[in-house]
Symmetry: C5
Subunit: 345 residues, 5 copies
């Protein structure tokens, strides 16, 4: 345990019971059951802010169980000078309370500052419309940060609630002005024209509003995460639709090729077709296969175009089909196929 | 720093400490820790609205640190005349407060006006059912605007809260009526039949309601964004389903062609099938390949149609199949295939 | 401008300033800055309900700027008789206030009645499980209605808030009972056993509850839209899954056919395979191609069936394939294929 | 209309005006404008609970317009005995009020009991992970139930609000204790040690808490629906991903077969390749086609496996490719293809 | 039933009516209608916490209907010593109340501890980016836990509300201090410097805050579930997009192969093409088929790459196409095909 008098730092160890006797507190008051609490008891202010447990009396501030919590640095370097400075003409407990609340708000702010750029960066890279699939490691980071953010939100809320509970009851604020009750002489001296209770209210209100600002920022950040998730979904869906259309166009092409390739397969059969000897038929059939595939594909593509933009009154660009005589029966066939196709969709 | 007396503008520079002494304020009161605050101290009203910091006394209005913030134009052109005009018979601090609050509401309104058409335009074009994939640059704009909107919502909320805090406590309203306390003569003169505190309450309430309207508009806009996102998702999904059905129909066609193409491949093998010399067999098999593919495809398409609309009792349009004699065994085959196919799905 | 005395209608034009002087109001009171307001000033009730601006005095009701707003019909046909009727024994201002509030609630109700069937119809047709893709024009209608609905919700909320603000402060209710203050004789006469302020409170409360019911209905409608959107998404996703399974089954078929078609292609090569002269080999290979395809397809389908229902411990029903020598096996094969097809779906 | 005296049931018809005169109520009081209301007027309690309209006096309970609403059964069988029983030593109006509120809560509870198992069943079957596509009829049922649930939530909320409004104002509770005001003798007799107003408060509070429990259950149910919808979506998406992977694997197979089938097609051309006479070449090329397809497929599958599980450091199982000399140029080709493939992904 | 005096445990059975007479309670007070209630009646505190029903008097604590509820163990082992210990100098009812509330909070905490690791584990494994499809059994567990969590949230809320109702009314707190009213001697003795009501308030507040912490944890957990669901969806969508791109790339390959395979099919026809005798043509056409396929595929892949990353200004890596003379017409054809392809997308 440690003991801080107005500027001087003393460290010593004491049993809880001795401490209780010294300050005439009950053992129960030092149990620190809640993670965040701020109560006035018997001319002491007992504070717990997560890992920081402190007792403020009009003359000194005791910090309990401070080891191994990363607080030493702050205690030694920042707290002592802050307590020693006499910028306010206000008594000691105001300075102590301000230092502790400031430390709490700074901690919360630091946690938000930790989380915020990480979230913004991750979202920035996830929302990037160029990427096809979300980077999973980024998603993991986002999930971690989102969890930290909701823990931070809870802590800010708990901190705000504990301040609000005090602000709502004027008697508690009065009780917090220790000097007023213990040291009337100092009180009268220091309170020339200053109402201690009002000053205390202002001090607490100040930190309440700082916490509120933190809460607002956290809520905005959460809103941004939600919006970004929607945008990520729309992005992924859009990519998928584009790929699906490409896929569909290629499937159309493959279908056309397969359809007309069937002609080639037919002529490839070891069956007599009576055209075997005519040298021109080879080029005719080959040309027909390629041209027919291309044409059917074009029809299907334009059909797809019309289908996906149904509201534009579009003249279907009917290809001028002029065929040689000896293939008309096949044409009729394919035409009926596509007709039935379009009729049954 | 700048100094505005009832209509006349004076600019000069002063240290903060001098200012404090002059107005007998404490240094702490001029720290402007919160982005939006409105407090009465020692017959001064100290206001901060984001970048605008001002001190109102019964005789003059001082604007602090106004340079480089885009406020000069407003200060010179609008503020001076507004303060000089004597439309109300109310004292100076009312006019000053009204001018500053009006400026704040105007700023918020301007931000909403900035964001609103951009959001509406972006949504309009994103919701367009004709487009297959969402334009990513539009999504980016939407995300930016959505972020601006939530910042605006926070600012409106903070502004409303700071006004509400004053409206809830009658003493603060009383304190804001500076003339009442400093200049009883002017007070009595001006307050013929007018209760200053009530007028102040009306003034603040007026701006509170304007902020509330802004908040309502922003919330509606957010609701519209959410609804539009749902519609965008339904649109994209619908497109995908349509494309998938087309794809499925083509896959069915390809399957049919491949199935019957196998016959052609079989006859194309360099193996003796004893049909090689019959010239009619070529046409028979070719015709069977094309007809069979078409038929199977048609059956599959009608099957798909029934499958996707299961509740409509539809007579399956059985195709009139009239075949040549020597292929009946194959026909039976395919018929049983498709029958069992349709029965088992 | 228009002037309504107890039943008689008079229309005339007046400047705002004259009106102010006549009623000894301040110019500011007639600015009607907020879309919905209800205030008592100097024995007048000044009301604005969106487009309707009115001033109620104990003797008459003046409606301002009524032209071109679609209000004429209501003013002439409904308002005059309503004001003239003496069903209550209550003074004039009660009747006037009731008429205006009733008109407001009717307007809101009419807007809800406008929007509600349209939304229900659109949802009904969008939720229809038979449709494969959402009708985009319906989605557009839904979006429009959803926007109208949220505007309506805001208006109901604003109306409720302005009534609630009055109901919360008894002095304002007292002020609204104009006759009590201006005409003590009429007051005493009319108030035999009736407390004016209480009647006023009942009247306002009545409309507050009507507005609350409207708000409840609107919220239910919004909930219905959200639920329906979820159902639409599930529907579209289900359709997609069904189509994807069909697609996968056909892809399996195509794969099998391609795999065994490769045998045919191999034998189609202009390479000597030493089987060229054996007539039975043609039928053997052809049969093997079709049988093999069918079998592989069957295996794949049953694999798919097992894969999609992983929790059912299923013995893979290995088909006992025993074949005849010639062509009957093709029939059996395809038949068994389709059987297995039906069993595994 | 009907008339119930302490246990005896009398039915008769009366005009509204007669009823008003009899009970010295105003016509307005019997308009029953709101779906749920509970007011005390002139020593009567006027109650409307949806379809049930009743007037309670210290001596009797009148139920109005009870025909055709499914209430007869309850009125005759349950209400009369309940009113007649003297378990409480409390006056009649307590019993009447308790009977009516109990009936209301029972109705709400019955509606919840109706909806709850249906929702749970539907969700149970929709969440079933084995099903591939959501059953649309189930979705329809879910939508209907969800609508009923939100109506029920609104009714519970309205009921709670109307009770809460009474509980918040002690005067209304006093007014509801009719006997206290009308029958001081009975009052004094019955109130030995019992405070009527307190009893009334307890009675109302009791039903308020029952309504609250109903509201909690309804909210839990809504939460369950939301969670289940998420699970349904994840299920459908998972199924789709599994099918898509299968599809992709088969597409890989088809691609491999097509690639190496091209070799067969090439050798099938009626062009001289100088290999025509070598009998071993047939087996070499055929074997190469099948082996090559299989190998490429394997490579693609392992590539897919690596691609989908990128974080596992996996040694790519390089197939031992040992090729014959005269095909190396094709190998190089396919190798470069797959290289470029993997590089461009 | 059971009877616990200050440390000693007595079990006996009693009728409810006898109990009522003994404690001079009304039968109604022992109905325990609500799942959670805490009321003071006639110098008894009647408590129900779900399955635990207890009556506290200044001298003893009776637990009712305790059998078969899993409470025996707690009653015998923990409750008796807790009641017997005299750590507080506070009267018996404080110890009894503290024991029961502590038991309730412990039960809630135990339920949260049950649910929390299960949810975290399930989410951990579901969010894992490596898995392609969500494990459905895990989803089922998640759904169950989510249901337990919302039931827990409701219970915590009900518990908090019942404590808050007492904390809000000072008279109820006074009533809860039984000793103050029944045993003034003990009261005076024990209350040296201690205000009983204040102690009671502190005691209740302590448990209220513990319940609040539980509620906060549950809410964080729910938020985590929601966030994780979003991440799961993005993961599944990403996987799908990756697979779809692979599929598209393979479809492109298949298309290219089919396109150029058509040349092979054409040459495979039993038609005279005049090239039959030239041995070089075989290699030329075969090479052209493979090279052409590869090239077209490469073009399509680079087209896809450009399409999916539209914002990068990329020089399309035009492949140096140098063809032999006699195939240019086919090239033109395919080029026009791909041109039209790119133009119509």
């Amino acid at each position: 345990m440690k003991f801080d008098q107005e500027g001087n730092v003393t460290t010593f160890e004491k049993k809880k019971t001795e401490l209780c006797q010294e300050l005439s507190l009950q053992a129960r008051d030092l149990r620190f059951q809640h993670s965040t609490s701020l109560t006035a008891r018997n001319n002491c202010i007992i504070i717990r802010m997560e890992s920081l447990k402190a007792i403020v009396t009009p003359e000194h501030l005791s910090v309990l169980d401070f080891r191994g919590l990363g607080l030493e640095r702050w205690l030694v370097l920042d707290l002592a000078p802050q307590l020693a400075s006499h910028t306010h003409s206000l008594p000691f407990e105001f300075r102590a309370l301000e230092a502790i609340l400031q430390h709490k708000v700074n901690t919360l702010q630091a946690r938000l500052n930790d989380v915020e750029p990480s979230i913004l960066d991750t979202l920035e890279s996830l929302v990037d419309p160029k990427i096809l699939s979300a980077d999973r490691s980024k998603l993991h980071i986002l999930l971690q940060n989102s969890k930290s953010l909701s823990e931070l939100e809870t802590d800010v809320k708990v901190f705000k609630d504990s301040l609000l509970k005090i602000l709502d009851e004027d008697e508690i604020i009065e009780e917090l002005c220790l000097t007023k009750w213990t040291d009337p002489r100092v009180f009268e001296e220091s309170s020339l024209g200053i109402d201690h209770a009002e000053e205390m209210e202002l001090l607490l209100e100040n930190y309440y509003m700082q916490a509120e600002e933190l809460g607002n920022k956290a809520r905005e950040l959460r809103g941004l995460i939600d919006d970004s998730e929607s945008v990520i979904f729309i992005n992924l869906d859009s990519h998928r639709n584009v790929m699906m259309r490409l896929n569909l166009q290629l499937t159309m092409g493959s279908f056309s090729l397969t359809l007309f390739g069937l002609i080639g397969v037919a002529f490839g059969m070891n069956l007599t077709s009576s055209f075997e000897e005519d040298p021109r038929v080879f080029w005719l059939v080959t040309g027909f296969m390629f041209l027919g595939s291309g044409m059917i594909w074009r029809r299907l593509l334009s059909f797809l175009g019309r289908h996906l933009e149904p509201s534009i009154p579009s003249l279907p660009s009917l290809p001028n089909i002029t065929f040689l005589n000896d293939k008309t029966h096949v044409i009729c066939n394919t035409r009926s196929v596509t007709n039935c196709h379009s009729s049954c969709l």
